[in-house]
Symmetry: C2
Subunit: 407 residues, 2 copies
């Protein structure tokens, strides 16, 4: 009986450990693999031979339950882009030598778009060298921007955090009897899904956020100032949800961008909220504040979505079934069969159809003026934030699974 290995990569979410728990549970219960190893710091852990044997630790169901609700990556992460096999053969040789030495039959990679690129390359290489190691991708990203799958693990929890927080900011803001503008900057470089989910803070009495700007629509400074001014003429406190990735019609980011780029060539963004704060300060005579939700929107496991955690767990388990069934080069997908009542099934798609593409918020979910979402997005978003996991507290703070030594 072969062993298997799992790793996590990319930016953290509140649900990426739920997927890891699903993989572990799948391996332990399906008994298709002998031991389950965890590579530390994603693919770099395999390149450097750093891994843990997870098999015994998670026989204990309490550890597994705790893992399910713990934020970020239990196994650590990396942002390493695997070179093409033509130019970086050495990496591929190292990885498959590791697989051989550890008698690995399947590799599960939990990650976002860039990690799916790694799954794609490794499965192509395996085919080329005739390796029987199955390579399966399990999605995660708070950005919800992977193609084919209905939504991504981690998105629902981040969306729940964003909506709950916007509602709380509404309560915090509405108390003063004077005009004010509050800008909340939300993550999402290319896709506005998470910013769009702020609409869920509108709960019958809260009209916040009053305006929503996504990267899918070209941002026009003058139209924005006009939107804000006309609302201020009618009411006191305006709350604006804005994606970090908003751009003008020429594609230039509305932010105090440093011009730096990360390993994947993405612009390092910061400050769309701050930039708009300064703009309003400069052009409109009104109190203005910006709030950057920062990493809090992806790591606040204490307010994660139970639906998200359960689906993430199931996607981990499904990945094991796919590998055990002889599949490779696939990413687990979630297919929505109904929104009311909410029903899903799990499937898969060739990872080459998913990697390096982006699923944007479609036009029918964005208002014609580009300053709001439409009600059509609600049945899509609403089910994803439902339910609250049972988070235990010790000494007044949440109980999570201690992270192993990662370096």
């Amino acid at each position: 009986m072969k062993n298997c290995i799992v790793a996590q990569s990319g930016g953290p979410t509140a649900a990426i450990n739920a997927s890891l728990a699903g993989v572990i549970k799948g391996v332990l219960s399906q008994k298709e693999y002998g031991r389950i190893y965890g590579a530390l710091n994603g693919i770099t852990g395999i390149l450097e031979g750093r891994s843990l044997d997870l098999t015994e630790l998670f026989q204990n169901s309490e550890n597994l339950d705790l893992l399910k609700v713990s934020p970020a990556m239990y196994l650590g992460s990396c942002r390493y882009k695997l070179p093409d096999m033509e130019t970086g053969a050495e990496d591929y040789q190292k990885i498959f030598t590791f697989f051989e030495n550890m008698d690995i039959g399947a590799f599960f990679y939990i990650g976002g778009n860039d990690s799916m690129d790694t799954v794609d390359k490794l499965s192509a290489y395996a085919a080329k060298i005739g390796s029987q190691v199955r390579i399966i991708g399990i999605p995660k990203t708070i950005d919800n921007d992977l193609c084919i799958t209905d939504h991504t693990p981690g998105f629902g929890s981040a969306a729940k955090y964003v909506a709950a927080t916007l509602l709380e900011i509404y309560h915090d803001t509405v108390i003063y009897n004077l005009k004010s503008v509050t800008i909340v900057e939300i993550m999402g470089r290319d896709a506005g899904w998470l910013t769009a989910s702020s609409v869920l803070a509108r709960n019958g009495y809260s009209p916040a956020p009053h305006l929503i700007y996504l990267p899918e629509t070209a941002f026009e400074t003058e139209a924005f100032l006009k939107d804000v001014s006309s609302l201020l003429a009618k009411q006191n406190n305006i709350i604006i949800a804005v994606s970090e990735g908003i751009r003008d019609k020429d594609g230039k980011y509305i932010s105090a961008s440093s011009g730096a780029v990360d390993n994947f060539g993405h612009s390092q963004l910061s400050g769309a909220g701050k930039t708009l704060e300064y703009l309003i300060q400069d052009r409109l005579d009104v109190k203005v504040r910006s709030i950057e939700l920062n990493v809090l929107q992806r790591c606040s496991s204490h307010i994660s979505s139970l639906t998200d955690l359960e689906e993430s767990f199931c996607q981990g388990q499904h990945g094991v079934s796919l590998a055990a069934g002889g599949n490779t080069g696939l990413m687990v997908t979630i297919n929505r069969t109904s929104s009311e009542p909410y029903q899903v099934s799990y499937g898969s798609a060739p990872v080459c159809e998913i990697a390096n593409r982006v699923k944007s918020v479609p036009a029918e979910f964005i208002s014609p003026q580009g300053n709001d979402v439409t009600p059509a997005i609600l049945p899509y978003l609403r089910p994803l934030v439902q339910g609250e996991p049972d988070i235990r507290f010790a000494q007044g703070i949440p109980c999570y699974l201690p992270v192993p030594h990662l370096s």
Copy 2:
């Protein structure tokens, strides 16, 4: 039978509505007052004759329970500094005419240091004109900087948020196998209590925050850089908790201060975290990020401290007893009789001994190097963050009491 009126003032907390609920419950159950009114937007609502009759609405215990867990001020707030009675007689006349017209026997003002100044002035004026209106202050401030009382309503919830969030940031940060510094800026202009409470994130496996800087100690840039460098020589990810109010030995704020001041003459701060981020970027060759917890630390009711909410409620009730007993010019206090087991009793103190003074973190709670707190602070802090209120969720987001129309 006389009526009474209650108002809320200053910055929001997660517990200021629990105190309001306590006042309402006290009035409804003690039957010393006929009707209970709520002035909108603090003392300005009395000056402008804007108030609500709360008597019927909160006969409904479900509304009262919802009020108890709702963030910020149900009745709205203000930042109005009452002038001295010599120069601003008109304000005082308006207020006491309002009291007379509404047949008010007691006024409960829930607020921080500046609101206690108002309580002090109004009770002195009442004495001067021979008014029988009882003026009682009920404290609140996340800053925990009021004298005499053991701790302030709202602090425990904010401290719980800060500690839980620091723990989650630790999980988020520790995943990368590279050197990084994360700076978390925490509210507290003059007193470092809230920043100090970040120590509660150290839970056995989390050493974060590795460094803690309070406004009570003069901040030295070179010592700070040395602290960070020597930690980085030993480990990968350093998390630093820093108060927005840190200053150098000359009392100059370590921040990108605009030099602006608010109505009370306080410097408007922003950016101690950002300033240190830029400093590290400039001087140390390491990845650095700063996170400003911003208003989230005071309005995230979904993770408030049950101990804090219950004590805030009791302090509201106790305020009603004080007024009914014929007292005036007092602030409700909480007296700790034991830390283990945690036991408190409620008392009062003349508000003139509290207003316009600040209780700093004492020297024995701060490390000699000024870059950490001492273990001696733990028995003080720990009981205040215990317990989680039962927050209901509807459609995936928290249920709070809708705010009335405030303007």
